[in-house]
Amino acid sequence: MSVKELDRDRLVWMYEQMLRIREFEERVKRTFIDHPGVIRGHTHLADGAEASIVGSIATIGPKDQFFATYRCHGYPLARGTDPKAMMAEIYGRKDGLCKGIGGSMHLADPSNGFLGTSGIVAAGIPHATGAAWAAQIRKQDQVVLCFFGDGASKQGAFSESLNIASLWKLPIVYVMENNGYNVHTRTEQEDANRANGEDLSVKAKAFSMPGVTIDGRDPVAVYETVGTAVARARSGEGPTLVESQMYRLSAHGNIIAPPGVPLHFPEHEAIEKFGAPEEYEAALQGDPVPAFRGRLVGDGTLSSDEADAIAARVRDEMQAAVTFGLDSPFPAVESALEFVYA
């Protein structure tokens, strides 16, 4: 099953997308400090997951589709969704991607194959599986990517969906981003496979589908593995479970607090809860974004001037997204009733 090789342009594109995600998420996080009260509720950041997100999105084409989780900002950015509309959505504004009605956890861009987001853990897995059934009927060689976290793999929805996908040989790839935590529970505290020293990809065996574990911090490895799974799905051979291992560099999300308590991002659970700052330090050392920059500059794919130019361009782009979001007005209150029914 061959996967199209990554040429220089594609590698540089991947680096830029990873940086765009990082810069966007940094600004979401900074909004809590610079503009308190602008982001309400709960937002979840993808810093640390960039390599896995971009490596996966790089494998699909314009007709393909994907579903994600409440931690959904990275995928549409790599897919080409406008970050201004995304930031405005996170700020609850009229010019938001979903007109301010969805918010951070429920982004959707169906024109780019991003069919919508449930914030309920694992609920999107059957949604993606249904879209894959639709793709199978439609016979236009479409594939669906289904992103979810390791925490979701203990929900019944996960088992039910993978069973059907394998049984029906649906054109879907299940990309499980294992960042070692479900909120502030460590994977080995809740997963029998992990607790017994096994990788989570062994779950695939229960459904007689291939399962593979990869280093989700290496965008090329992700691209090659997910790309192979996509080719398999597209050829009608059925689904694959890819366990993409990584580390989440921010806390699960901003604090949950009643109104009146200023929202902010706490330290990562490794530091705050588990007293393991060295674990977090090690994760920072392995940060996929500077690592990929180092690799591309190191092997001559990019000069450091070119890398700096990309960084400057991305910073400007994401700063403009913040400004756009802040300048966008709130929607008319009546729009709350506008999209209840189709």
Binding site: C98, I101, G116, T129
Partner: protein
């Protein structure tokens, strides 16, 4: 022209006609389509008609995904209680996507489920739980009581671009009725006046509509003319027709097979108390199941259910023909 059909066949006829008319309509669920010889598989093939494992969360979740992706799935759930297994997908997923996406997607799907299996099916299979799905913005709930409406409401449900909970009462399964030939659509949000009368309004749902009509005959012999209204759809609910009737009669009895506080009766009572207060000449009376898990033993099962006698007694209360009790 029309032809006579049992209720259950009328539903099938609607699904079949819609699947013939629109090849994006899918029909799937447990224990169906397991052989080539089944009529739906034969007619529409194995892409569109499939058997699923016992996996309600995946079945309903997949219906949502397929609907967002451009298809129109009908999920065969058999029994309403099986929706409870996947309550998140029914209440907090399917009806939310249109709003949360700012109108970018729609979720046209039908959840077809029997209910009220009042025939010894006991505590977990006999519920009348339709009202649990009311009040969920984005979700529609329909409950036909005649074969014609069973066909027309299913056709409308399939063509509706929203998620629809389609509930068909088990005891009506073999009830025959005249069903219009060919394409037949019954609109949502339009109650049917099954019997005209000027002394009392009786609103009844599902299987209780015929009980209310039976009670109306008994009452007519006592000189009380009851108007019997069948809402046909719980969401959207046609409160206008009910209010107009109460304005005429001044008296309202609500009949539902659900338990009292999980009943559409309670919702209607609230609407009439607020919007039709000045029409009322007597308190609103509800005739619902008693608050118990439905027992298996036959006399107990019958005792907890609404029936004609209870409806007659309720009407006698509101027209003042019976002593007022505490």
């Amino acid at each position: 022209m029309s032809h006579e059909l049992p209720f259950i066949a009328a539903i099938d006829e609607a699904i079949r006609l819609e699947m013939e008319r629109d090849d994006t309509v899918l029909y799937f669920g447990q224990n169906m389509a397991t052989t080539e010889n089944e009529p739906y598989v034969d007619a529409f093939g194995k892409d569109r008609v499939r058997v699923t494992p016992i996996s309600e969360t995946a079945e309903i979740g997949m219906a949502i995904g397929a609907a967002i992706a451009g298809y129109r799935p009908v999920v065969e759930l058999y029994m309403a209680e099986f929706m409870l297994v996947a309550m998140d997908q029914v209440i907090n997923e399917a009806p939310r996507f249109r709003a949360m996406s700012g109108g970018q997607v729609k979720v046209p799907l039908v959840l077809k489920a029997g209910f009220g299996f009042t025939a010894g099916w006991a505590g977990q299979h006999t519920g009348t739980i339709g009202a649990l799905f009311m009040g969920v913005p984005g979700l529609k709930v329909v409950m036909p009581s005649t074969a014609a409406d069973a066909k027309g409401l299913m056709a409308t449900a399939i063509r509706d671009d929203n998620p629809v909970v389609y509930l068909h009462h088990y005891l009506l399964t073999l009830e025959h009725g005249e069903v219009p030939d060919g394409e037949y659509l019954v609109p949502f949000g339009e109650a049917a006046i099954r019997r005209e009368g000027s002394d009392v309004t009786i609103v009844a749902t599902g299987w209780t509509v015929d009980r209310a009509l039976g009670a109306a005959e008994t009452l007519a012999a006592e000189g009380i003319q009851a108007e019997v209204i069948d809402p046909r759809t719980l969401a959207p609910l046609d409160t206008q027709t009910i209010l107009e009737s109460v304005d005429k009669t001044g008296r309202l009895v609500l009949v539902d097979q659900a338990t009292r506080h999980a009943s559409v009766s309670t919702v209607i009572a609230g609407e009439v108390a607020e919007h039709g207060f000045s029409s009322l000449k007597a308190p609103i009376v509800q005739v619902t199941a008693l608050d118990a898990t439905i027992p298996y033993s036959e006399p107990l099962e019958a005792w907890v259910m609404p029936n004609e006698d209870k409806i007659v007694a309720a009407v006698q209360r509101v027209v003042g023909a019976a002593p007022v009790t505490a």
